[in-house]
Subunit: 355 residues, 2 copies
């Protein structure tokens, strides 16, 4: 493997000194980029794209050609595991992901196996290997998965949801069934992420998009517990370097101390919490990733720069351990030049915070 | 007016002793009740129903005939004010509320006037008067409004939204335009709620359904500030009694101290915060309303009873100042007997907490 030229992102996650705050954007490879839309128009359906290692590599690299980013993230979907479990994933226009065979009862859960990461999910590992080659050591590659709770919401609701009534019904009326599913998902995620590391992922992130719809007790029981199990089971060193792990629960600002206590290296923050408060609460335990409102990218470059400065100041001059990011994925209708203004602002404005 | 027979709800909001914890449910008059659906099927479109005082009275009273509730809430919609401002409200099947003429620019905001509560909104005041008569003093009547920020989201997005990109674009790129709109909305809400009190509402609630999608700074600037202005402008006494005011920001658990500091009487909580933590944080400043996950009503009566007991214990034996409720509106597919089990559990299990 080519030697890593820019390791700011990995160093910041481990709270080691860096010369400027590393930055990347959730969903940085995606629809807001015209070059992505162009390639996408020529290709087939969304999952076929994820299955094509060359396509996945090309779109992973696209934002890196435009912007001075400090990390690349595997182009894939969070629902690859449920798809590999045989639930029949489709993407309906305007409707998002749909499962043809959602989970409805204990019998459905019992039938599910742990997907083999080099068999049913081998296409993801091929993509990781291809992207690592394509990156040629420029920046580290982030591998990722959805959290067990988040995957389970899609598997039980049959797709996206507003009120999550089916999974909550199961959580309150048949908790054992749900726990069996979450445990199988945790084992699957461990095997999936470890295979990504073996294939070349240099850092891992777990997206708990829907943990924030739970009460504190239910979050601990149905989401955090399984993320902690995953953290315990992950390969944390490879190629002679640490493989840092970031946990991100959207709307999880109230629970960051407990998330930090799982043993992860970093906690991702959305924009509904002040990063200064978050830092005071987690202390030196973990690095923090975040946390600009993605909608700020609709404003002018000047306003974007002011917001970057504001967040850098909030994080403070004891600057180790901050990875700049949006608080959620970039919106698909953001002008690419505004994303550029954001990245540039972090690169330039963060240097005085690293003396 | 008939003398009030059951004032537990009003007393609890003022942190006065009661014999048992008062309980009502957000959206208690609504689609989960077969008698509501029956009446609704015979009648016209949703806004015509809201405009019919006899219909509004009948559906407001329906849940009180089934359950031992401690309050009634005006049957109406949160979007009556924007509708009265001339934005052309429609309800599309499966799509929710839609405005034919959403707000897009400063010019649109400048054209808007403050609706006269006894003219354009006179139908709401007629409903309040009719319901007060229909209640005959059994329980107090709650009047309500959406918060300025929440109303503005619908007015600018043109309906419901997922990412709220249009209003955030305005907040970050044209904050003055948005502030002008929010200020007009705050004035409108003050006039609207004071008219509800004059017509007979005995308590007021402001629903800030979408304040929780903002960063802490933006929440203060665009939502809380205008709710505080409203609290300052409200009639707080009528018919020789206090008219308590409750503020409810969904996903606002991180900001309850600041909400409490507005001068409101009570803070509504969703289920993403422990009510014990909330109580420790706000101290004696305000009463608290909440906070069972509405999805718990899918579970068995036994499980519902356990959850009620758990929340009562969390609130603790220093029990004054708790109004039991769901953390959000009741789901439309909840079995009515489960709602009954919930109300009964609060009535029975809460007595030992009030000695």
């Amino acid at each position: 493997m080519a030697e890593l030229k820019n390791d700011r992102y990995l160093r910041a996650l481990l709270k080691q000194p860096v010369d400027q705050t590393p930055v990347w954007m959730m969903r940085q490879a995606g629809r807001y980029l015209p070059e992505y839309r162009e390639l996408r128009a020529k290709a087939g359906d969304f999952m076929s794209l994820c299955r094509d290692a060359d396509f996945a590599c090309e779109v992973t690299l696209q934002p890196l050609r435009r912007y001075d980013l400090d990390a690349a993230i595997l182009f894939s979907d969070i629902l690859t595991i449920p798809d590999a479990m045989g639930l029949g994933l489709r993407f309906e226009t305007g409707e998002g992901p749909v499962f043809d065979r959602p989970i409805t009862c204990l019998r459905d859960v019992e039938k599910i196996g742990i997907p083999d990461p080099e068999d049913e999910l081998g296409y993801v590992m091929n993509a990781v290997r291809t992207i690592r080659k394509g990156l040629n050591g420029d920046v580290p590659l982030i591998g990722f998965s959805g959290s067990p709770w988040t995957l389970a919401t899609y598997m039980i609701e049959g797709g996206t949801s507003k009120a999550f009534t089916k999974i909550k019904k199961m959580a309150f009326a048949e908790p054992k069934t749900l726990h069996l599913l979450l445990d199988k998902l945790a084992d699957s995620v461990i095997s999936y992420l470890n295979a990504q590391v073996a294939a070349g992922a240099q850092s891992l992130m777990i997206f708990d998009t829907w943990g924030g719809i739970l009460s504190p007790r239910d979050y601990r029981e149905f989401s955090l517990r399984y993320m902690a199990k995953i953290v315990d089971g992950l390969t944390r060193e490879n190629e002679g370097r640490s493989v840092p792990v970031t946990l991100f629960t959207k709307n999880g600002g109230q629970w960051i101390e407990e998330i930090a206590a799982t043993g992860c290296d970093a906690v991702g923050l959305d924009w509904t919490i002040d990063i200064s408060d978050a830092k005071a609460r987690v202390g030196d335990k973990v690095a923090l990733q975040g946390n600009m409102d993605p909608s700020m990218l609709y404003a002018s470059p000047e306003r974007i720069g002011q917001e970057v400065q504001h967040i850098l100041e909030q994080y403070g001059h004891d600057n180790t351990g901050h990875v700049f990011n949006l608080g959620h994925g970039i919106h698909l209708d953001v002008p690419p030049e505004n994303a550029g203004a954001f990245i540039k602002a972090v690169n330039e404005l963060s240097r005085p915070f690293h003396k």
